[in-house]
Point group: C2
Chain length 263, copies 2
């Protein structure tokens, strides 16, 4: 049952961005996340699991579901998996999934009456990026534009922190935000940028049916060029002594108000 050396090597390579980019694949770990991958329209290529995941009903259901798909299923050992697994303790199942390319235009030109888009400029911490995608997923954001200066979407820590959000939302990666947001404005989007010095409090503005909200880097926020381009600079009122809010917390605070304040 042992995996061949070349297969293990190929799996281990997927922990590096270079090979993920080249092969347009990524790794998904744990029963919950592999379930999400299977339930989505992403293509699950290969699955590796230990014998004991069939001890849990969720594990058995997952394997049955995978058998219906065309995924190649390998039984393996925890020891083998720990060589390539990113999480501290291997969770019994791991899938190789094909990356999806979402075109910016398909995200911006939705037919629904309302469209709430989030753009992320230079987010550098994988946990923050994943948490922001999870937050967008909670608040019903319709699509995410990930600037080319942000951490990679398919980084294993990002995928894990999205808690499935990566499979629920269209996310375009490597986006040139300056030209794209400029085009979005031409398409009728009102653009909001979060800014410590923003002149408008986030819960006092109206968000029209086409709204695009931009969040920035952990240390220096949104780039000056994007700030200049945005229609509205929103801030979150401070009542205490902290210098700033964590960017994924700020993202949640602003998005929690958007639906309530939709025009």
């Amino acid at each position: 049952m042992a995996l061949t050396k070349s297969r293990l090597k190929s799996l281990r390579e997927l922990t590096l961005r270079k090979y993920r980019d080249e092969r347009r694949q990524f790794i998904v770990e744990g029963v919950r996340l592999v379930q999400e991958a299977v339930a989505s329209d992403f293509t699950v290529l290969e699955v590796y699991h230990t014998a004991d995941i069939t001890d849990q009903p969720a594990g058995r259901a997952l394997l049955a579901r995978l058998a219906e798909k065309t995924a190649v299923i390998h039984q393996t050992s925890t020891r083998e998996m720990e060589v390539i697994s990113e999480t501290v303790s291997f969770q019994g199942v791991l899938a190789v999934v094909r990356q999806k390319q979402f075109a910016v235009d398909s995200i911006l030109t939705r037919r629904d009456t309302s469209s709430l888009i989030v753009a992320l400029d230079g987010v550098s911490d994988p946990g923050n990026l994943g948490t922001m995608i999870r937050t967008c997923d909670w608040f019903g954001v319709n699509g995410v534009l990930l600037g080319r200066n942000s951490v990679e979407l398919y980084n294993p820590k990002v995928v894990r922190s999205t808690m499935g959000g990566v499979f629920h939302l269209p996310i375009a990666g490597g986006v040139d935000l300056l030209s794209t947001i400029s085009r979005a404005k031409g398409m009728g989007y009102r653009t909001f940028v979060t800014d410590l010095k923003g002149e408008t409090h986030f819960d006092l503005v109206k968000y029209p049916a086409r709204s695009l909200v931009i969040f920035g880097n952990e240390a220096w926020g949104v780039s000056d060029q994007l700030k200049d381009l945005a229609d509205v600079h929103v801030s979150i009122r401070r009542y205490g002594a902290a210098e700033s809010l964590n960017v994924s917390v700020a993202c949640g605070v602003v998005l929690s108000a958007v639906h309530r304040l939709f025009e």
Copy 2:
């Protein structure tokens, strides 16, 4: 200039909870955070820095400030510091600070007209705990009660993620939340618990001048006993497909509404 073996050993011990608890000390790293420690009423016991931090004005100002205090200052090498430093790259300065004990009663019996207290029940991820303290610090929370089942406040990753909040807010650790919150209710606090199934939307309730908001564990939320004790169960409306929000994001969303909705 090399540090003695016993001093290095003693510093390295402070990366372990056992010794932090025993000696009631903790470690603070980097110019920004050591500045915060010095500016606070915490006692800075010892400082270790490399020669080159005097190259930056902030580093020079910090050393001058420390000289006025009674801290013992050691110049050292990056190599020595990397043995004990928790962060990926040593930031040139590290302080040993005395822990502070805040009594629950001093937090609950404030003389101000309003008092907003946050209780944390079983938060297990250090990054989440630190981010929640930072968020409390931003939104002007007056004190934090940290349940005895939560991760330790003086864990280096918690301290770092607070971004200085640990020095700005009174935080009582190891609190028996059940008896304490019961007492708080007797003192006139209205108690709110965040709950995925809460019957009241967080931005539709009024928060009276004495409000206490409880947040729970990343996976299972607030314990059933605390839920039963709380006056109001609040939820955050979901518009998308995510199963839950990250707890520090939920904390920010709820706290952002409290001042606006103060009675």
